[in-house]
């Protein structure tokens, strides 16, 4: 890597971290930071331009302050992103580890065949989930559970679980085939201890990198679901919902569509940059895969 490129990437990572820290801070102190309550309507000052009196980023068709709603919108974005990432990472890693151990820790004979079959079955189910396009799978889950933020979180948790399962299984199988694991098994170390001591530390890097990517995808899909009217419900503020409301006033009030989207794009950009930086540090095998 050239020195200039390294410095540029360092700067990019620092900016990304700063943006994410600011987002988190705004989510925590939204009532203090926002100039207005997010749902306060002021029909007399509807569709006010940006930088007009009292509305730094303008107001929407009900006279609600765009800046305040963007600040409050950090909450659903971060909460759904964090819970989705946590849930899918925990479930996916557990499933992937189980599948890898079923295949990689077997001995000989019919039991091994049965364990392999179980592994194949698990991965087939994951492939089936992966075969359904992301947004549609989320829609189908929301169709069963009904619209709303908690439901959207569950939907996204299910959507991103198979990715973690596949990554974990592949990396864990590689570790289980290493010489030191084979010697540990020959010495009679229990499978649980092998997983805790050898497998988990070796796959943690890949899982953490995937977490950053999942977080950024979850922010996008949550805003998509809210845009479609199936995520955050009015009058709560969410970036996707703001874009949905703004769509009908594109001509009169383009700012109502531009700023919330900018918030989404910057957040996603920041998570992607952070993911790349983490990949360089923690997961050298994936280096270049993101670039």
């Amino acid at each position: 890597m050239a020195e200039g490129e390294g410095a540029r990437r360092g700067l990019g990572t620092a900016l990304a971290a700063a943006w994410l820290a600011a987002t988190l801070a705004f989510a925590l102190i939204a009532p203090l930071a926002a100039p207005y309550p997010p749902a306060r309507q002021d029909l007399g000052r509807a569709l006010a331009r940006p930088l007009s009196s009292g509305h730094a980023l303008g107001s929407d068709e009900l006279g609600r302050d765009i800046l305040s709603r963007i600040i409050y919108g950090t909450r659903p974005a971060l909460i759904v992103g964090a819970l989705t990432t946590l849930a899918s990472a925990l479930a996916g890693t557990a499933i992937g580890l189980a599948a890898a151990c079923l295949r990689g820790l077997g001995g000989l004979g019919w039991r091994t065949a049965a364990r392999r079959l179980a592994d194949e079955g698990i991965m087939l189910a994951m492939d089936g989930l992966l075969a359904i396009p992301t947004v549609l799978l989320a829609l189908a889950v929301v169709a069963a559970l009904g619209p709303g933020l908690p439901q959207a979180t569950i939907a996204l948790g299910i959507v991103y679980c198979p990715v973690f399962a596949r990554i974990t299984r592949a990396r864990a199988l590689a570790v289980l085939g290493e010489g030191y694991v084979l010697s540990a098994r020959a010495l009679g170390t229990s499978p649980l201890k092998i997983v805790a001591r050898h497998v988990l530390p070796n796959i943690a890097g890949s899982v953490i990198v995937q977490c950053a990517l999942t977080f950024s995808m979850a922010v996008v899909v949550e805003s998509s679901l809210s845009y479609l009217g199936l995520g955050t419900q009015p009058p709560e503020a969410s970036w996707g919902l703001m874009l949905k409301d703004g769509r009908d006033y594109l001509i009169q009030a383009p700012w109502a569509s531009v700023f919330p989207g900018l918030a989404i794009a910057l957040t996603v950009l920041a998570f992607n940059a952070l993911g790349d930086a983490l990949a360089d540090r923690l997961d050298p095998r994936s280096r270049g895969a993101l670039n």
Binding site: A131, P133, A143, S224, Y227, L243, L250, P254, S257, V268
Partner: protein, 322 residues
């Protein structure tokens, strides 16, 4: 000459075996999707009959609704019925309009297919040349600019890009319609919005694959023979770099149909995505199931075909493939 023939026959056999293996996997995946689509609607909490009858319906009404929907019978019976129907390409009837689900889907399918094909073509027409340019100019200003652009395109949510495109080319410079019609012109902006992130991914994949090939021995030999870097790239490396790019394009094609759900909403296009969305909003679960299966079959078939195409394009697939 004879040896050449024998190698050709062996390669053909390998390819056919590979295709058969992939086809079996495809059939299995579709079967799993059928189970999942059924499970999503029936096993997750939430009673479709209760929703269909309305929240303030009397218990007797809900019971009647369950009977008319067939959800009063055991899960196994219901699943058997759904699977048998599926085998005859019968996806049941919509709860709302009472029309056949397969007919509803067939009506909306052409528009979304056109949109996906346009987006896919756009992604390839942009991604391949940019990826190649970026690989042959590695480390240069063009490479940096392309990397920046593709990172940007990957971070913009497709629907926001769509809104920006509308602002630019339907509001500020009104050359495209603000609300969708069915002609090709109203598909241009949606296809750009849908295809942009794919173009970025293809650019990166092409660049990575090209760089791998450019550092391999045969390219070094070609350079030693006197070919310039770009000649060697175009004549030798590009062809060999294609298989992973084809694979990615196939995976993307299926994902495009998922992305279409949001993009069609932004551009008010009456395609398959909006049908799925309406079905979800009305909790019309036969239609939701139908859409899930159709989308998944399209995605699986696209990636199956891409696997085959990339296997055919790769010199030693029989040995390299699992």
């Amino acid at each position: 000459m004879r040896r050449h023939d024998r190698a050709g026959a062996k390669r053909r056999r390998d390819l056919i075996a590979y295709a058969l293996g992939k086809a079996a996997r495809l059939a299995l995946t579709i079967a799993v999707v059928a189970v999942l689509a059924f499970a999503l609607a029936r096993v997750l909490p939430g009673d479709p009959a209760l929703t269909a009858a309305g929240l303030d319906a009397r218990p007797a009404d809900v019971e009647a609704m369950r009977r008319s929907m067939g959800t009063d019978r055991g899960l196994a019976t219901q699943f058997a019925e759904w699977a048998l129907g599926l085998a005859r390409l019968d996806l049941g009837a919509s709860l709302v309009s009472k029309e056949r689900v397969s007919r509803l889907i067939a009506q909306r399918f052409p528009l979304t297919l056109e949109l996906a094909l346009l987006a896919s073509a756009f992604a390839m027409l942009v991604g391949l040349p940019l990826g190649e340019a970026s690989a042959t100019r590695k480390g240069g200003a063009a490479d940096g600019a392309i990397a920046f652009l593709s990172r940007l395109a990957l971070s913009l949510p497709g629907f926001w890009l769509g809104i920006l495109l509308l602002l630019g080319f339907a509001v500020a410079i009104p050359i495209f319609p603000l609300f969708g019609g069915k002609d090709l012109r109203s598909l241009v902006l949606p296809a750009l919005a849908l295809g942009a992130s794919n173009a970025a991914m293809l650019t990166r994949q092409t660049r990575t694959a090209m760089l791998d090939e450019l550092s391999s021995e045969y390219v070094v030999a070609a350079r030693a023979k006197g070919l310039s870097r770009s000649q060697a790239a175009r004549r030798h490396a590009l062809r060999n770099a294609l298989p992973p790019v084809i694979n990615l394009a196939g995976l993307q094609f299926g994902a495009l149909f998922g992305g279409a759900v949001v993009v069609e909403q932004v551009f008010s296009l009456p395609g398959l995505g909006r049908l799925a969305l309406t079905a979800v909003a009305q909790r019309d679960f036969p239609l939701v199931q139908g859409c899930v299966v159709v989308f998944a079959v399209i995605a699986s078939c696209a990636s199956f075909l891409a696997d085959l195409a990339s296997a055919a394009a790769r010199p030693g697939i029989g040995r390299a493939a699992r």
